[in-house]
């Protein structure tokens, strides 16, 4: 009996939420704004790749399609979602249309969720159309220009070297400085650790001519017979030194004890990547192999060549097959969708509190502040942060950064362009924080305001 009642309660609640969602979708589809938005998105997908000039290589074209087109379309959708969300409650309250709905037995949370779902549905459709358009363009160009297999977009698992985490490294350096009594004065332990951690994350290490560096890897997904593994290194070198660089890369499988050596002479690019067939590592067991070691020996002439700089945590990677490219695009779309879900929730929260112009203004300002704040945190030094005239700005930037760090940590377009699979962790984190936890908090706050707010005026 109680379960029957519960079922009836949830069914009625679902109908109310569905009603609000359908109304919001109808409102969107029957206005010119959405038509204008669709035209903009179509122009983005169809016209932009033709207008922006690439370097003529398949890689360049892919970069334009995946980075410029998708970023531009995502940017348009971000603004559209934010402003549409700002209008959803505010306009209805301003026009008094909400009065007819508010006197019905609808809970504030049902209203909120209904409108939020409408935005999610619209965004999902828009993103799918945009991503499908881009995928179709990639496919069309691939067929038209006859891209080689190696030039085609891929999706690969990424394994980074087994190194201490930046936090562990920061603690280690801190302990070392403390032991030697060389800690900088005037800064708290927390500040020093934060700076050390940032530096550890971005730290460049040098491989001088004649030097050798090795890294251990543990693949998340084992490499099986018949598959290939790619090693990738990105160097930060001065342009005029690149032509003088040569070295030997050696990739060895710890489990089979077999290695492959690849000489790299006079490589002129910042990035080197080579692919090795799994059969080169000898008899691979059926369950596959996971442990690898990659080493690089800098064989350039010490008198003519400069040292090679690498960020070990970011610039060295082993890549193994990770599903199809279109599935990776779907994952990227899901990450983008989660960010839009957060923006929708944020806009709705503002919409409940303010009138449409105020909500839209505040939303835009906070969006700009987030972008600026995150940039400031990346570039500001601790010395600059200590200056009195910078303190307020740095403080605001740090607050914004820590509030939005989790929401914005996924970089789906970079992963797509680099052929890296958007792994489940990134997807889960993005969906969990952006499409669930943050919206939940914003919904709770919005509903508290909505319940307290008077929805009629003196008229």
């Amino acid at each position: 009996m109680p379960s029957k009642l519960l079922h009836r309660f949830f069914a009625a609640s679902a109908r109310r939420i569905g009603g609000v969602t359908v109304l919001a979708v109808r409102a969107a589809l029957r206005t010119r704004t959405v038509a204008a938005l669709l035209v903009l998105l179509a122009a983005c997908v169809l016209v932009l790749p033709g207008v922006v000039k690439g370097d003529g290589t398949p890689e360049g074209e892919l970069h334009i399609l995946l980075t410029y087109t998708l970023s531009f379309a995502f940017g348009i959708l971000c603004l559209a979602t934010l402003w549409a969300a700002c209008a959803l409650f505010a306009a209805e309250i301003d026009s008094a249309r909400i009065q007819l709905s508010a006197v019905k037995p609808v809970r504030a949370v049902e209203f909120w969720v209904g409108k939020w779902l409408a935005l999610l549905v619209m965004n999902a459709v828009a993103l799918l159309v945009v991503y499908a358009g881009v995928y179709a363009q990639v496919h069309w160009r691939m067929c038209r220009d006859g891209w080689e297999v190696i030039e085609r977009p891929v999706s690969r698992h990424v394994a980074r070297p087994l190194l201490p985490t930046p936090r562990e490294e920061a603690r280690e350096i801190f302990a070392d400085l403390q032991a030697r009594d060389q800690l900088p004065s005037g800064y708290s332990e927390r500040t020093i650790l934060r700076v050390l951690e940032q530096k550890a994350h971005e730290k460049y290490s040098e491989i001088p001519p004649g030097g050798r560096q090795a890294w251990r890897f543990q693949l998340r997904r084992p490499l099986h017979i018949g598959e290939v593994i790619a090693a990738r290194m990105r160097f930060e070198t001065e342009y005029n030194t690149r032509t003088q660089v040569s070295g030997i890369c050696r990739l060895s499988c710890v489990e089979t004890g077999r290695a492959v050596e690849v000489p790299l002479d006079d490589f002129t690019l910042k990035e080197i990547e080579f692919v090795v067939d799994a059969r080169a590592f000898g008899q691979i067991p059926t369950e596959g192999v996971r442990a690898f070691e990659l080493s690089f020996m800098h064989t350039s002439d010490p008198k003519r060549a400069a040292g090679l700089l690498l960020r070990f945590r970011k610039d060295v990677a082993l890549l193994t097959p990770g599903g199809s490219f279109w599935m990776n695009m779907l994952r990227a779309a899901a990450v983008h969708w989660s960010v839009l879900a957060l923006l929708a929730a944020f806009g709705l929260a503002l919409s409940v509190c303010f009138s449409l112009p105020v909500a839209a203004f505040v939303a835009t300002m906070l969006l700009v502040l987030t972008m600026v704040g995150n940039s400031v945190v990346q570039v500001v030094s601790e010395e600059d942060a200590q200056k009195w005239r910078n303190r307020a700005g740095v403080l605001v930037s740090r607050v914004v950064h820590s509030a939005t760090r989790r929401a914005l940590q996924a970089k789906p377009l970079a992963a797509l362009t680099n052929g890296e699979r958007i792994d489940t962790d990134m997807l889960r984190t993005s969906l969990g924080w952006n499409a669930l936890l943050f919206p939940l908090l914003l919904a709770a706050a919005s509903c508290a305001v909505l319940r307290r707010r008077e929805l009629a005026d003196t008229e």
């Binding site: 109908r15 009065q99 709905s101 508010a102 019905k104 037995p105």
Partner: protein
Amino acid sequence: MPASKSPVIETRGLRKVFRDFWRRPTVEAVKGLDLTINDGEVFGLLGPNGSGKSTTIKMLLGLLRPTAGTIRVLGSAPDDTHAKACIGYLPEVSHLHTFLTPRETLMYYASLFGLSRAQAVQRTRELLAMVDLEHAADRAVGGFSKGMARRVGLAQALVNAPRLLILDEPTSGLDPIGSREVKDLVCALAKGGVTVLMTSHLLADVEDVCDRVAILDRGVLCAEGKIADLLRQPDAVRFEVEGLDEPDAAAVRAELEARTGRRVRQEYPAMSLERYFLQVVARDGQQRTFAMAPFLGATLSAPETDPTPTSNSLPMT
């Protein structure tokens, strides 16, 4: 007369002070209102513009929060969803979504009451027939005249077959036929046990349908009671005789003056302009009233008496 007398709406010491952006009081719209509306009553809330009628209604509906005092609607606080499920509301301005058709509008409001799709479709069909909008059911409301939009508004107020119907200026924007139909509907609903609270500037409308009225002025309750009690003139008696010719009328008048020693006024009662209008443009006014019956329930039947009483027929004492 209603069988039960339990209060459906009860306010005690109800006050509403509007404030500006800086929280400074600007106007006290309602000043200590005590009001009781019983089950099955048709109650009229009257008053000039700015008297606090709409503010009171909005507080009863939970759209405004009272500054002081208590409100009980159907035994609950105004923002209680269980109580809201039994209330129908027609605001002074319909505030409909202009991009929706009447059918979509009614389906939307039916969904807010948690009605299943089948129920919602059925109820929508009945209501569209009731307000005579089947021919325009799939046209956007934005293109409707004020009267048609008012009919949609009325239909949405009835989508849940409410126990309490709150109508703010229900006949505003309607032609005399539409206005008559609304009044007939209110009477029919009241017979079916629905409690109705209505406000109107048109005093004749209120007089036609309401059991009791309250008159508000500048937020203060000035008078309250049954219309018959409020309007009674205890020192006057009126007779109406049909088919009396002039000499007989003069004789009766002379006899009465001789007996009472008072001056007797002789009148030839005229029908109301509304009734005359309805006769001239008769069309199907009565038929529409009957068309409401299936929706309102089997207990309802056509009005037994002429539903258009003349305004000059005062009760005899």
